[in-house]
Structure formats: structure tokens, C-alpha cells
């Protein structure tokens, strides 16, 4: 059986490997929700492929808008795949640290006072 340290390292390595492969091999097609939006907007057939020039119309009037520091898991076109890898590595570690930190904090706070 793996000890905690090995388990964490193995888990993170697997996560980073998946994320790294994703940068190069992930499909550029829209996801299920975006595809549905394109179908509804008449830009795509239900079972057909997504046209190159299909562009999602997004309602912006009266809607909140926010620009993330690393939109679409990348650091802009000029950074290319390197930017993608940086973004994924950062995200994977941040997800790990945030969950670890909050879970640890809750555990501390949850300890009965003696």
C-alpha cells in the first residue's frame, strides 16, 4: 500500500500528465453546452460538424462580464502551447492547494475545544 506522500506525488504526477497531454490533444470543438447554443442559434446541425466560422452569439446587455487572467487555459496566442502548459500546471497546483488549505483549516476549526 502506498504511503500518503507517495500517493500525493503519484496523484499530482498523473494529474499533470493528463493536463499536459490535454494541451496538445484536446479537441477544439465546442463543448456540449456551446454546441447546443450553436444549434439553437441555427449555426450548426444537431448531428453535423461545427462550421469553421460558427461564432457563439452571447447576450451581453445587462449581463455580468469578467475577464479571467488565463482565459481558456492559455496565456494568449503568442505563448502558444507553453502558455497552455503553464496555465494547466498552475491550475492543478492551485486546485490542490486550495482544497488542501480549506480542508485543513476546517479540520482545525472543527476540533472540539478541551
Amino acid at each position: 500500500m502506498m504511503d500518503n506522500k507517495t500517493f500525493i506525488i503519484a496523484g499530482i504526477v498523473i494529474a499533470l500528465a493528463i493536463g499536459g497531454i490535454a494541451v496538445f490533444f484536446a479537441s477544439g470543438d465546442p463543448d456540449g453546452l456551446e454546441s447546443t447554443a450553436l444549434v439553437v442559434q441555427g449555426q450548426k446541425e444537431l448531428t453535423g460538424s461545427t462550421p469553421e466560422d460558427a461564432e457563439l452569439h452571447e447576450e451581453t446587455d445587462g449581463r455580468f462580464s469578467y475577464t479571467a487572467p488565463m482565459p481558456d487555459y492559455a496565456l494568449g496566442d503568442e505563448m502558444g502551447p507553453t502558455g497552455g502548459i503553464i496555465a494547466i500546471v498552475a491550475g492543478t497546483f492551485i486546485a490542490f492547494v486550495v482544497v488542501m488549505g480549506i480542508a485543513y483549516g476546517l479540520k482545525k476549526a472543527g476540533k472540539p475545544v478541551k
Partner: protein
Amino acid sequence: MHIPDAFIPIWQGAIYWIIALVFIALALKWARNEMNEEKLPLVAVLAAGIFALQSFNLPVSMGTSGHLVGGALAAIILGSPFAAIFILTLVLIVQAVLFGDGGITTLGTNIINMGVIGGFVGFYTFRGLMGVSKNMPVSVFFAAWLACLIPALCCAVEMFVAGTFPLMEGLVAMGIYHAIIGVIEGFVTVAAVYLIATARPDLIDSGVVAPAGA
């Protein structure tokens, strides 16, 4: 199925946020009660893994791609739908704030769909099937498949309420795409459960190896 800000009016997003906060509070309570030195790394590693898996969009034909959500995985491994809510909430916050994947006003909706609905559907489908079939891979597969499909259908209804999609068209398209994406979700979840069960059988919920009630 990360809903962007543009797809839901702010006031509706606020309503979903309030509902989501109730479940987040319950999930925090779960974490406080269940977390121990042994489980902590598993939960954090699962979050890192789910984040990475979610960034991997696989082609699912029909000009569409899809990725794992992970709600069923977290709920089954940790033996509680609240585990899924806890992990998915934090992963979704990171995705929305840093990567613009899913909106901020719609974050509550996304937490409800993927964390709450995905977690509950995944967990109870698994428990039910495991009780009947006693077959772990089959139970995990269908639990994960449904935990992808049902939130997608809920999402279609929310899109209808928001005035973004017509009801039937949205349900049909979301249903078809996510029925296929769910197959990926099913296979990956079975593989992940096997991997973790092999590496650390002590960490996973006993319901995974022994059927509920046994």
C-alpha cells in the same frame, strides 16, 4: 457544461447562488466532520485530478467535445454526495476566477448542476445499482454516465428559464451530446476508482468494495 455569464440573467444567477450556498454550507460541514489526516491528501489529490481531467476536451463526434465532470467520482470514492459538492465547488471557483471557464454570476448554477446534482445522482445511482447488481464497474459506469446526463438536462431547463434556449431543442441537443460525453465520464470514472482502490484501499468508502448494507 460550464455556463458562461452571458447565458443567464444576473437575478436568476443570484437565485441559483443562494440555493448553492445552502449546499456549500452542508458540504463544509461534511468536510469538517469527515476530514482526517489520512483522507485529506486523497481529497486534495482528487481535486487536482478532476481539475486536470476537466481541461481535457475529447472529441465526441457531431462537431462537439466533452470532458469529465467528476461529480460521481468524488461522491463514490469518498462515500458522500457532499464530497462531490465540496471538491467541485472549489474546482469550479478556480476555473471561473482564473480561467474564465464558466461565469461568476453563473457559478452558483454550475455548482448546483455539476456538484450538487452530479454528486447526488452519482452517489445514489451507485449505491442503488451496487445493492442490486453487486458489480462495482457496472455500477460506477452507469452512476457516472447519469451524473453527466442528468445535470446536462437540468442545465437545458435552466437555459430555457433564462430565455437562452428553447425547451425541446435544448433538451434534445444537451441530452444527445452529454449521453455520449457521459460514456467517456463512465469509462474514466471506472478507471480512476480502480486506480485509487488499488493504491489506497483504506481511503475509499467501504461501499465501493462491499455493497451497501453488506
